[in-house]
């Protein structure tokens, strides 16, 4: 299982939010590129970047920082989400060296868009489904839909997506632990790998997810925990690699 550090971008800074609320944000670094370097040093094999401003605006807002990270670390696998809503945006980021684009809101608003971009950019698409109480949220989590997250996930199984990122909004940034049961249910329900996200706080959470990783959990995204130091990225990934 891969432990994937997250860098969330707001006004060019690296921040952490609580439950996705822009009003409840803490700036952890004014230099996201240096932050990326720190995670690379700690042994990160993949980086999760969210353009928060982009998610709310519906189009890229922090492209220059993202381009710089991709330039500086060409061997680092980068998955990027936040305002990825059209083919030109995807093509631009792929050219810049981003490896995977994460489709969130657009997957819910226009599900056929996922199949289209998978056909046009095969092997480069991930679908991100963020849920609160099992229902999918969109647009930077400002809107809660009536769609059941597992039903939604199954729609994309055969489009050719690399994985589905499943984020539990109520746990995100709260340091209260990961929702293992919901994650396992999602993993068991879909025939492609999932990436867990939201609430991973300490090694207990890492171990709990690792124990069920073979249900199809290929990775876990971690944010606040590595910024506040309750998880040591290097130690955790080394432990995971030994399993």
């Amino acid at each position: 299982m891969l432990l994937i550090p997250a860098i969330d971008l707001k006004d060019g800074h690296c921040v952490r939010l609580r439950q996705g609320l822009m009003e409840d944000s803490t700036v952890f670094s004014e230099d996201p590129v240096a932050m990326a370097g720190q995670w690379v040093e700690a042994g990160a094999r993949r980086l999760h970047i969210v353009d928060l401003d982009g998610a709310f605006a519906g189009k890229p807002k922090n492209a220059d920082v993202i381009h710089e990270i991709a330039d500086r670390y060409p061997d680092l696998t980068i998955q990027l989400g936040g305002g990825i809503r059209d083919e030109d945006t995807i093509a631009g980021y792929l050219d810049a060296g981003v490896n995977f684009l994460i489709i969130g809101t657009q997957a819910v608003k226009e599900p056929h868009f996922v199949a289209e971009v998978c056909a046009e950019f095969p092997t480069h698409i991930i679908v991100g489904l963020d849920a609160k109480d099992g229902k999918v949220a969109t647009e930077g989590w400002s809107k809660l839909s009536k769609h059941d997250v597992i039903d939604m996930a199954k729609r994309f199984e055969n489009d050719g997506v690399e994985a589905i990122i499943y984020t539990d909004i109520s746990r995100d940034g709260m340091m209260k632990g990961v929702n293992v049961d919901a994650t396992v249910k999602m993993a068991q329900a879909v025939t492609i790998p999932i990436i867990a996200s939201g609430g991973i706080t300490d090694m207990d959470d890492v171990k709990a997810l690792s124990a069920v990783a073979d249900e199809g959990i290929m990775g876990a995204i971690t944010g606040r925990a590595i910024y506040e130091g309750t998880i040591d990225l290097k130690q955790a990934q080394t432990w995971l690699d030994e399993q």
């Binding site: 891969l2 094999r45 061997d75 092997t123 199984e157 055969n158 050719g160 690399e162 993993a187 068991q188 025939t191 492609i192 790998p193 069920v212 073979d214 249900e215 199809g216 290929m218 399993q243």
Partner: protein, 215 residues
């Protein structure tokens, strides 16, 4: 008259995804049973042999549960599908854990990607484990490939790969730094390195082809 598909549970890996996928594609008269019981394996009409984790732990659990003989017998007699570790332990020997003797159904070894990747100069670009989707090229036609296009992608997560002595066993090949064997076939045994239960439609189709495979 129902037909039994035994999914062998020797405590190495969660089998829910595999058994659910099989249930989903099984024929109407087929029952899928997750079991560690030797009698179930002998009575089954088909056997699926999955597995995750290290070779040494897999082999020690298989031995502890007295499953070696029933498995080898099943592999002689009925449609038998090995998945991931369930493919690797069919070989003679694995280099994992400083060397592990395996079931020796197929002469050959299990090698570590790490050495080869360093030699090929891919170090730093290709990581271990090999984790992700990759193309599987069909090296022989086989009922389990029915409806699956050559070179389609399946989902892999492994650090070791099989090297059968007899090249005629090779049913599928994949590239990750080097070309390695991703599927083997002989008589009523078919074994794959990738995870069909996590490979979307093609994976389910392979499992469905297995449920229909009559030898």
């Amino acid at each position: 008259m129902s037909s039994l598909i035994a999914v062998v549970d020797y405590g190495m890996g969660n089998l829910r995804s595999v058994s659910k996928a099989l249930e989903h594609v099984a024929q109407s008269d087929q029952i899928v049973k997750v079991t560690a019981d030797a009698d179930d394996i002998s009575e089954a009409d088909r056997v699926v042999f999955p597995g995750q984790g290290a070779a040494r732990d897999c082999m020690s659990e298989i031995k502890r549960l007295n499953l070696i003989e029933p498995l080898l017998k099943a592999a002689e007699e009925k449609p038998f599908l090995g998945i991931c570790m369930g493919m690797q332990v069919l070989m003679s020997h694995s280099d994992e854990n400083d060397g592990v003797s395996c079931m020796d159904l197929f002469p050959g070894d299990v090698k570590f990607f790490g050495d080869k990747l360093n030699q090929s100069g891919e170090e730093g670009k290709l990581k271990i484990p090999h984790m992700g989707w990759n193309n599987v090229s069909h090296k022989q036609s086989h009922p389990l490939w029915n409806g699956i296009k050559d070179d389609n992608r399946f989902y892999f997560v492994h650090s070791y790969y099989v090297e059968p002595k007899d090249e005629k066993l090779i049913a599928g090949q994949t590239n990750y730094g080097i070309d390695f064997t991703s599927a083997i076939a002989r008589d009523n045994v078919f074994a794959v390195q990738f995870h069909p239960e996590k490979s979307a439609a093609d994976g389910l189709l392979l499992l469905e082809n297995f449920t229909r495979w009559n030898i």
